[in-house]
């Protein structure tokens, strides 16, 4: 179905306030095989603004959103709710990437239709491994819907 050009860059929206994590995530993504562009939003507000632009064709539509839960200003859960309640955005896979291991967090985010929930590994090699798995899963294993515009 998808006539995605393999030479196309995958667009990734990374919503993360911790610059350390932004760097780690980017480094991990870089070590993978998939060509990609990472757009970083440092808080929820920025994320929503980016998505607003996407809706109006002002920004590239992300193929994957990596979303931290603990964010300044607008929180990750609110961002998730906005995405999933917006028909134009709902189909974008959202992977929640957080330090939390709490069962209640896991349950809540899935109830809000998050596509994955991943606890950030403490260890760098493991973190890299996780990000690679995300990349591999969402960009090579899974077929994603094709969007015009």
């Amino acid at each position: 179905m998808s006539e995605r050009n393999s030479a196309d860059y995958m667009e990734i929206l990374l919503v993360e306030d911790n610059q350390g994590d932004v760097l780690l995530t980017k480094r991990a993504l870089k070590s993978g095989k998939v060509l990609h562009n990472v757009h970083v939003a440092n808080d929820g507000e920025a994320a929503l603004a980016f998505l607003h632009d996407v809706e109006y064709g002002q920004a590239p539509r992300p193929d994957l959103i990596l979303l931290d839960l603990n964010l300044p200003k607008v929180g990750g859960r609110e961002v998730l709710a906005k995405i999933k309640s917006n028909e134009a955005l709902a189909s974008i896979p959202v992977v929640v990437l957080t330090t939390s291991k709490a069962d209640e967090d896991i349950l809540k985010t899935y109830q809000m239709h998050a596509n994955s929930f991943i606890t950030k590994p403490v260890d760098w090699p493991q973190f890299m491994n996780v990000v690679r798995l995300i990349e591999e899963y969402w960009f090579t294993v899974v077929k994603l819907p094709l969007h015009e515009g």
Binding site: N18, G20, L24, R27, T99, K120, V122, D123, W124, F127
Partner: protein
């Protein structure tokens, strides 16, 4: 619609189940959360099935509830369980549940299980009903019914069988059937049993003999039915006792045979039949009937079809020895055991036949018979001339034969009033024999002109014109008949029991008297055999009775009949034979009157006479009888004793000889009075043989005969010498008494009299008892000296009082003979002579020592009590029932800061703030309620009511008081007052409050600490992750690019960061035990252990550890924490292993304190001095390089155990291994 009650304490699960059931087409109108609620709901709802969780909150779990349902309701139960292990299944089975369903519930297993349980229950109900029906039928059957297996072991035995055989079902069940078989029948019976195997029912061709428990044997007809079950083949026998029928058949004086109508074989024959056939029963039974009966029709039976009957046909019988006998035979059809038989009965008529033959043959014989018959007989010619007459005719007519034969016509003997009728008979008989009566009555005219009622039988002699008449004198009979007829009307009204019996002894008449006496109604009695009905006992053997009755026509005597109620009645009975006109006995008339009472009276009289005789013989009084000549005819031993003579010396001698001469004339003077009155009382002197005189008082009576004439006298004499003496002594005493009348008021008291000098002149038994001095010791002594009397007042004061009023009362102390002082309440009375001079003093004293002592003790005890009361630290208040203060001690004044005056007489509650107004009132309800048992279990009788209140001091400061309020009862147990014991608990209250707040602070602080640890460790993660990750990236990017030192530093940094990570993780886990625990659920420790083992799989494999365990129980707990618990303990056991591969055993033991789990290893062990320390956070016993770890594992373990209400400890020796023990509470239903 099928209704199901769901019992489940998890509301969500219950709703889920109910919905599934509804979708499955069931009605689930109610859900119960506990076993108790389920049982209550069952009583109203009566569902078709109960679906119930095993684990329920409340007192009863599912298993217990299922048992209760099984016991109380017939409702199937299906249990729900989370566990499928065998022990659970076993427990479920034992409840009688109809199935169980594993949780989680899925519709696919739920509905079929319910369907199956309902079907099984419905089947069981049907089975039970069918069994009950079978039992009811067989138990009420009149025939004995029993079942056995093919070996003959009895497995069922009904009520009739118990009656018939004498064995109870309990006795015989499991026993061999041979117990009810006679020896002779056993072999045959067991041959027959296999034969049963080929048919469904089997009826043996003839009856069988059976044996009762008492050894007696009886015939009965069995029929057998065969049935097969999975367990094998069984036979049921129905046995009908036919001994009675048999006995009747045997006793009948007719031959009886039972013939199979198809084979014509004789199936049974009675004794008479066998005798007539001249063969044994065995030889007869099985033979074809024609062999013996009706041989003339050989091969051709007169009875070819059933349904035909023969009545008294003349046939010939062939005996075994080939002789023929004429018989009268009757044949009728009879159905026995469902099969039709021919019952042939026959009587031998060969005698009659022979006689007829002989009569025809022998004129002489004929003549002899003619002569010897008891009736008068005559042969009459056609012209009525008497051709021949017998000697009885001579008697009847008074004419000699030769005066009559050939000379006189018959009509000459007929009374004129009957003549015309007789002549007509005579003529008619000769025209047509059938037209004249064969029997008739007439009045016979004798030679002397007397008339007799006669009964005549007349018949023509065949082939002639002569007739024979037989004449029987019925005059007596007629008279009797008339009398009987006359009586007949009276019979019913008669008080006596009257019945008539036919010759067979059957009752043909039964009057109201008989009904009254024997209790049987007329319709019940008539037709019964009298002896059988009344169980008559004859005083003489019936063999003797019958000849008497036959001979004289009458018998009189006493019989014992038994009434319907089983009571024997003695009757005076008279039996009269009633004969018909020909003198044949037709009936017996029995007239009986109840003499039971008379009999009893006779017996009682005899007994009473015997008693009287014995009494008289043994009487103390002399009894003698004499004639009117005053000579003694009899006397008893007492007379002999009194008179000092032997009985022989008294009897036959004049009565006056017993008297002293001076009394004789006096006695003679009383005779007229005796004659007149019949009884008199005399006083006289008897002169004993030894010359002594004794005073005698006698009652003399005349004994009269039936005509009222005096015949004898009876005297009952009593020796009153002693009494006379006593009387005269009494008389003397009375004289004395008159003087000292007051002395005898109360003999229990010590009484003495003193003369004016103070000497004791009288000393009674009471004084002897009290003072210990005997009468003879005391009398004559000076009273004050003897008794060392102490007076309460000086004698100077006492005397004037006594003199003045003649009386003094007061307490004295006398000293007894033993030196013991006795306090007496004493009253002194002056006794004066006629002239008013004091002659004596009467002292009456009663001992009041004990009373005095008691009084003293009481006073002492009161004093003690009062001191205690006054000095007690507790405040004490006594109020009346009006709650007003009646008394109080100093302590309460201090406590309430009030003066005594402010308190006394005021209501106690006035001292208290308004909220305590009803304090005493409330306590009173409890206390009084306890007495009358209305308070309920909360309060026991006599127990004080504890209450808290406070008072406000004058300055407004508060004093907290704890008080016990009790009820004081008076002697009659009526509430009389309240006792309030109050303690100042202000300080204690303050301490308690401080403790409470400290405790709350502590709890809050603990909770805060845990929360802090959680948040801190969580937030520490974030920066740490940065450190770790970036140091690792540095390591990745720059290892080998910097110098060797830098590489080492990087390695330390990475290692430190990782350790910090573990530490934080562990700390987080530790804090989560308290803050993030799950609620306790029933948790299988088996599953917990296997989960922990699975988590440690890698470590176990690497170390080649072997973990074994006991069967572990289910406990109430937090499953994930319990997994953590085992995981840490097992992890330690593996980590701290010795040189050998780890051997770990998890054990459990149930103790009164709960489950004690143990984890035993063969590791390096622990020095016992560190046994406590190892459970503390961050405590390590080993260098990190030897055994890595944070030192939190056991602290977490300890926290988990404590959260579950248990304890943990370790027992160990270095190098020997360690055993960690921890306890978990047992819950009632947490069983293995």
């Amino acid at each position: 619609m099928t209704t199901i009650l769901v019992v489940e304490d998890e509301a969500i699960v219950a709703i889920d189940i109910a919905q599934r059931l509804k979708r499955g087409g069931y009605d689930a109108p109610a859900v119960a959360a506990t076993g108790e609620a389920a049982l209550r709901t069952l009583e109203e709802l009566h569902p078709d099935l109960v679906l119930m969780d095993i684990l329920l909150k409340g007192e009863k779990d599912g298993i217990e509830t299922a048992r209760a349902i099984k016991d109380q309701f017939d409702i199937p139960v299906v249990l729900l369980t989370g566990q499928a292990d065998e022990s659970t299944q076993e427990r479920v089975k034992n409840t009688g549940a109809y199935g169980f369903i594993l949780k989680p519930i899925d519709t696919a297993s739920l509905l079929p299980t319910i369907e199956l349980a309902l079907a099984r229950h419905a089947f069981e109900v049907q089975l039970k009903e069918s069994e009950n029906r079978f039992r009811a039928v067989t138990d009420s059957a009149a025939d004995a019914i029993f079942s056995m297996d093919v070996q003959g072991t009895v497995i069922y035995w009904n009520k009739a069988a118990e009656r018939t055989f004498g064995w109870t079902a309990d006795d015989i069940t499991g026993q061999s059937v041979t117990a009810i078989l006679p020896e002779s029948a056993k072999a045959g019976f067991f041959k027959m049993l296999p034969a049963l195997g080929t048919r469904e029912t089997y009826v043996p061709p003839s009856f069988m003999l059976w044996r009762r428990k008492d050894g007696t044997e009886f015939p009965a007809e069995p029929s057998f039915a065969l049935w097969k079950t999975k367990e094998g083949t069984f036979a049921t026998a129905i046995v009908r006792d036919i001994s009675e029928q048999k006995a009747i058949i045997e006793s009948v004086q007719a031959g009886i045979v039972l013939v199979d109508p198809i084979t014509h074989k004789i199936v049974d024959v009675n004794t008479t039949g066998a005798r007539l056939f001249g063969a044994s029963k065995d030889a007869i039974i099985g033979s074809v009937c024609l062999r013996f009966i009706c041989p003339a029709e050989a091969g051709r039976c007169p009875i070819t079809d059933l349904g035909q009957t023969v009545d008294n046909a003349e046939r010939v019988l062939l005996t075994a020895d080939g002789k023929s006998r004429p018989i009268l035979k009757s044949v009728s059809e009879i159905t026995l055991r469902g099969r039709a038989y021919l019952l042939e009965s026959f009587v031998d008529i060969s005698d009659r036949k022979q006689m007829e033959h002989a009569l025809l043959e022998s004129e002489a014989y004929y003549r002899a018979i003619f002569e010897s018959t008891a009736a008068g007989m005559a042969i009459l010619d056609e012209d009525t001339t008497v051709v021949m007459g017998n000697s009885k005719l001579e008697q009847l007519t008074g004419f000699r034969k030769n005066e009559v034969e050939g000379l006189k016509p018959w009509t000459e003997f007929v009374a004129p009033e009957d003549l015309a009728r007789i002549k007509e008979y005579h003529r008619a008989r000769r025209r047509n024999a059938a037209s004249a009566p064969k029997e008739y009555e007439l009045r016979l005219l004798a030679k002397d002109g007397t008339r007799r009622e006669v009964f005549v039988t007349a018949a023509l002699i065949p082939g002639t014109k002569r007739s024979v008449v037989s004449i029987v004198d019925v005059t007596a009979l007629k008279t009797a008949q008339a009398a009987v007829l006359e009586q007949a009307a009276m019979l019913d009204a008669a008080h006596d029991a009257i019945m008539t019996l036919d010759p067979e002894g059957r009752i043909t008449y039964w009057n109201r008297g008989a009904e009254r006496l024997y209790g049987w109604a007329k319709q019940e009695a008539e037709g019964q055999n009298a002896n059988a009905l009344l169980r008559t006992r004859f005083p003489e053997s019936r063999e003797e009775l019958w000849p008497k009755l036959m001979e004289s026509g009458r018998w009189e005597g006493e019989l014992i009949h038994v009434t319907r109620d089983g009571v024997p009645v003695t009757v005076a009975s008279s039996w009269t034979m009633i004969n018909d006109e020909r003198g044949n006995a037709t009936a017996i008339l029995e007239i009986s009157s109840d003499v039971t009472e008379r009999k009893k009276a006779e017996l009682a009289l005899a007994e009473s006479e015997a008693k009287l005789r014995t009494t008289i013989a043994n009487m103390v009084d002399g009894v003698l009888t004499g004639g009117l000549d005053w000579k003694v005819t009899d006397c008893n031993e007492a007379v002999a004793r009194m008179s000092r003579r032997s009985k022989e010396e008294v009897i036959g001698k004049p009565f006056l000889d017993l008297l002293a001469p001076e009394s004789r004339s006096q006695i003679l003077e009383t005779v007229p009075e005796l004659m007149e009155k019949g009884t008199i009382r005399t006083n006289e002197l008897w002169l004993r043989k030894n010359g002594e005189r004794i005073d005698v008082e006698a009652n003399v009576s005349l004994i009269k005969d039936a005509a009222g004439q005096p015949r004898a006298f009876l005297a009952v004499a009593r020796d009153v010498t002693e009494r006379k003496k006593a009387e005269s002594a009494l008389h003397q005493a009375q004289e004395d008494l008159r003087q000292h009348a007051t002395m005898f008021d109360a003999a229990h008291d010590a009484i003495m009299t003193l003369d004016p000098e103070g000497r004791i002149t009288y000393w009674n038994r009471g004084a002897e008892r009290l003072y210990g001095w005997a009468k003879q010791e005391a009398e004559g002594q000076n009273a004050n000296a003897l008794l060392r009397t102490r007076f309460p007042e000086s004698r100077e004061e006492l005397w004037p009082k006594l003199m003045e009023s003649g009386r003094w009362e007061g307490e004295l102390i006398h000293v007894t003979r033993d030196g013991v002082p006795v306090t007496v309440a004493s009253s002194w009375t002056m006794i004066n002579d006629e002239r008013g001079n004091a002659t004596a003093i009467l002292e009456i004293s009663s001992d009041v020592t004990e009373r005095k002592k008691a009084e003293l003790a009481l006073a002492e005890s009161e004093a003690k009590l009062r001191t205690t009361f006054a000095t007690m630290a507790d405040g004490i208040v006594i109020t009346g029932l009006d709650e007003k203060v009646a008394d109080c001690n100093d302590a309460i004044l201090h406590l309430t800061q009030r003066s005594r005056d402010e308190i006394l007489g005021k209501p106690f509650v006035d001292l208290l703030p308004p909220e305590f107004r009803s304090l005493i009132h409330d306590a009173r309800k409890l206390l009084v309620g306890a007495i009358f048992g209305t308070t309920g279990p909360g309060h026991r009788e006599k127990e004080p009511v504890r209450t808290d209140f406070h008072v406000l001091g004058k300055t407004g400061e508060r004093v907290d008081i704890e008080a016990d309020i009790s009820l004081i009862e008076d002697a009659s147990r009526q509430p009389a007052a309240f006792l309030i014991v109050a303690r100042d608990v202000t300080e204690r209250k303050r301490m308690e409050q401080r403790l409470d707040s400290t405790l709350a602070d502590l709890q809050r602080s603990n909770a805060e600490l845990e929360q802090f640890a959680y948040i801190a460790s969580h937030d520490l993660q974030e920066p740490l992750r940065m450190i770790t990750s970036y140091v690792q990236i540095i390591e990745e990017d720059y290892t080998g690019k910097l110098d060797a030192d830098a590489d080492e530093y990087i390695a330390f940094t990475v290692d430190g960061a990782k350790r910090m990570q573990t530490l934080i993780d562990d700390l987080l886990a530790y804090s989560r035990v308290g803050t993030r625990g799950e609620p306790f659920m029933p948790t299988s420790m088996n599953r917990v252990l296997s989960e922990a083992i699975a988590n440690l799989e890698v470590a176990i494999e690497e170390s080649h550890a072997v973990v074994t365990h006991d069967q572990l129980p289910t406990v109430l707990g937090d499953e994930s924490q319990l997994i953590q618990l085992f995981q840490n303990l097992l992890g330690n056991a593996i980590k701290f292993r010795g040189d050998d591969a780890p051997m770990i055993h998890v054990g459990v033991e149930e103790t009164k304190d709960g489950w004690v789990f143990s984890v035993r290893d063969n590791g390096i062990g622990i020095d016992i001095q560190y046994a406590e320390r190892i459970f503390t956070v961050f405590q390590r016993l080993h260098a990190r390089d030897d055994y890595p770890g944070t030192g939190i594992g056991l602290a977490v373990v300890k926290k988990i155990v404590e959260r579950h209400g248990g304890r943990i400890w370790v027992e160990s020796e270095p190098a020997q291994g360690s055993t960690f023990y921890f306890t978990l509470p047992t819950r009632g239903d947490n069983v293995l």
